[in-house]
Symmetry: D2
Subunit: 300 residues, 4 copies
């Protein structure tokens, strides 16, 4: 019995290799997550459990695929940067898009009970993914700036909106009307004057999103720094969390203030002690500081 | 604060719409499932639990996407046919590929404990997917024939191989050597003479794979046939399960014997009683009978 | 000296094969031919010399590429149908598009002096081309109907417009105003009542465009019909030229009148005497008659 | 009469925009030019008339399309570099490929009689074209190095081969046998010792191919250098033509000798006097000198 008489159907499968030598930006979005978050009673404006679950899934994807050098997540979306020299699956688009989306989904569903122990899944979550190619670093920088600026804009709006609704007693219609046409400054003002909320002191996770990156090849330095206490490490972590004022400055086109020598030194110290592993931070990725300290993201 | 200065990066996202008016064949494969099946101690040569879980996930995908009119699964792969007129996600390739793969994965992981209550997931399963376009029905027929012939060839080999190992006491090396160069007939003979196994009486699920299809618009006929007992339905189901001899005849190029009038009549009767729902069968899809009885698969 | 250190740049060349088993419709348009026709003083509304030169170039392309089974031209554009089984240049899109466009251009420039003996080329003409895939015959029928309907609409407008200008003494602005919102019937009426022009008696080339097709495998019939005079052949040619009234009926959705037995018989007779060669006609390709008589266009 | 019932066929036309921000390398090759050159009795190993006609056509293409910043030709092929920011035809691949190929062909055919006044075209020449995208300058450098190294290798072989045949009395079979396995050095030796030919003194056009580039924005310097005689300009042109020894060194991986200060100074002087126009040179484009002097090729 020969199967070969049918095998010609394979000829319809056309190659879909992506241009070599370009960065792949893989982006993944939740499918109908507005409804999904309602059904599973996500907290408004942000649900830490859901965000941490997203981070967990993203970290699993990065762990499995070493050619992913950076990831950024906000809300129900995550972006992954693959190094431009990657030959993952011979750069076949469908293979990469589907496999990464699948693994993320797998982790999201598998780990759901860890983050939502009292909320069983009502129905199956799913995600869609796509790859966009970028030929130069500057576009990658701008891509991530675009996503983080989006995080800021959305979160400031949502935070103010839900304060008006949950604490201010407005209907959602009223809250939208209150916010129509307001600038960032006015939203900050509403939050502070009416609800006593200093936006810049809210959880950086909400304001900055999640940044996942690798800290590599640092083991040789470990002994040198073994005297640093874990308290210090925690402390330096906060150096990665910056105020939105600087963010707004950056996006408005003004020059970012030069990074103070002390801050950079502290971070470098911390960085050096880290072993090769994936870090999650909620820091600014619009200004140069993050990138200058991690030249490995673009190195081949 | 304006986000618009970065939004130009969207211009790098290129359209990827698939040619209208052509059938989409979406195929999905387990990622490294050889290792996955070893780690989770799948039974050899077939693990019913795993196959039923695959069917479950495929059915969830078909339920969510009405434009899928047929699916076929074997081992760790599943193929889905989308009607040629589908405008799902504007026929965007990455969107369709990633979303369908994601939903399948989601169901597979979510339902794992139902089928493997005593075998916790050791690590995250994932799948890859791709779409192949076919411009004509004949290619679709041959595509599914190709997959089912593959099912038969692999299953006959594996069944004989594992009989030699598990019951015949051969090492895997010896078993491969025993089977080298043998034809179908000889494998049948080994199974029957040495192990008392009549291959054609093994579970049709293993020999034919799983066929998922819709039975639609039959409600108007329901009252007419309400007198048919459920026993009769179960009985007629078996008419869908045929011997591999016919399959081999078909694939060898010889003419399939004409479908007997009685059989066709019985099936039609059963079909008409069914309400709109997704059916799972383990029947021949190489010969005309299956397709002649379901012209709706290709109708628009 | 090794060239191999640079040869890696070939890896950036990605495959661009077109889906097998689908019709290729190659369309070619003059580049800035509005200006080109002005500069070379083409006659308005139609310049026979230019149209015949286009036909000549199209015929050269068909002669060189046997997989082109049909072509249709109007104004400065030409469409070519390649059989769906063609493996020309392994169905590589850029190769086919560029080569066909190049050969057409080559012929157009080379043969220019034959058709414009007194008008030297003022500057270099060029064309652009593209391929559109169609999975079914019905789309091919509709594609050609689309182009021929376009020919009719444009030519009726242009003929009336230039009559108003050249014979009616209107400015071009006035002529556009006169025609604004008019239906076909009114344009016919203007032509007839004001200028004594019966549109349906104008050169079929202008009203129908040019249809190029192959008449094949007829050599065996030649001796049977050798007594037919060339006068008769010319006469039967006119059976291919039909009135626009029927065309308008067809496009308006009404049923085309059945082809009279006599007409078909006459054409068949003529057809049979022809040897394998490329014919140019100015006939209807919207109704069934043309296609019914040339089943070979779609046969493989 | 409505054409709209057919217009849906346009939906099958899919977008084919090329990735923004990447260099387009458009390459064009003669179609079956081996036969074409035989039929039109091109001189062996090189026919100056044919090469100059190719240059002429390439220059016409560059003149028409300002986004082409560099071109390189050898034998029956030509490569064109489009700046990475080009938005020509919205970066639609088929449109660009077909139009550029068409214009080149148009010029080739139109200008044929100027270069071959005594050799009428026997049949229609044609070319095929394609676009390859490159994300970085280094790949562009290597692409052009690849083509020029190819020119050298082919020309050295062909020159020696035809010397053996035309002057050495060998058959073509014998000549191939003589050259089998020989290195560059041995071919140089055969040419010199047996035929008195110093390869490095042959026409640079044959050894280096043709390089077309723009010299822009130099008008402001013109008055300063107006005292330079045309003799000096011709003289400095030769500084662009270098020996193949250096080329071979470069390709073999050894460092190119540093450009002498005098030479660079002389070229700069000449360059500054040039007005904005397309230059044709037969110079090295593998080493840095050419590129260092024309930074505008990569500037946006």
């Amino acid at each position: 019995m020969a199967n070969s008489k049918y095998a010609y159907v394979r000829n319809f499968e056309l190659p879909d290799s992506l241009l070599p030598g370009t960065f792949m930006l893989f982006r993944l979005d939740g499918h109908s997550f507005h409804r999904f978050s309602d059904q599973h009673e996500f907290k408004k404006p942000n649900d830490v459990r859901a965000l941490e679950l997203m981070d967990h899934a993203a970290k699993d994807v990065m762990t499995e695929y070493p050619d992913i050098v950076l990831a950024f997540g906000e809300s129900d979306e995550f972006s992954f940067l693959l190094r431009k020299s990657t030959t993952l699956y011979n750069r076949r688009e469908s293979k990469i898009v589907s496999t990464l989306t699948s693994l993320f989904t797998s982790s999201f569903v598998f780990n759901w009970p860890k983050y939502f122990p009292d909320t069983p899944l009502q129905y199956l979550p799913s995600f869609d993914g796509r790859i966009v190619l970028y030929p130069e670093e500057k576009y990658i920088r701008d891509y991530f700036a675009w996503r983080q600026a989006d995080t800021h804009i959305n979160n400031l709006y949502n935070t103010t909106f839900w304060a008006l609704v949950q604490e201010g007693g407005q209907t959602t219609t009223e809250a939208h009307a209150t916010l129509r046409g307001t600038f960032s400054k006015e939203k900050h003002e509403i939050l502070f004057s009416r609800f006593g909320i200093n936006y810049n002191q809210l959880d950086a996770r909400f304001r900055k999103g999640s940044v996942l990156f690798r800290e590599e090849n640092m083991t040789k330095y470990r002994s040198l720094f073994s005297q640093i206490s874990s308290e210090e490490l925690v402390a330096t972590d906060t150096t990665l969390i910056e105020s939105d004022k600087a963010l707004e400055d950056t996006m408005a086109g003004s020059e970012a203030s030069p990074t103070k020598g002390e801050t950079r030194k502290a971070k470098t110290k911390k960085t050096k002690q880290r072993q090769t592993r994936i870090e999650i931070a909620h820091c600014d990725i619009i200004k140069d500081q993050f990138w200058d300290a991690r030249l490995g993201i673009f190195s081949e």
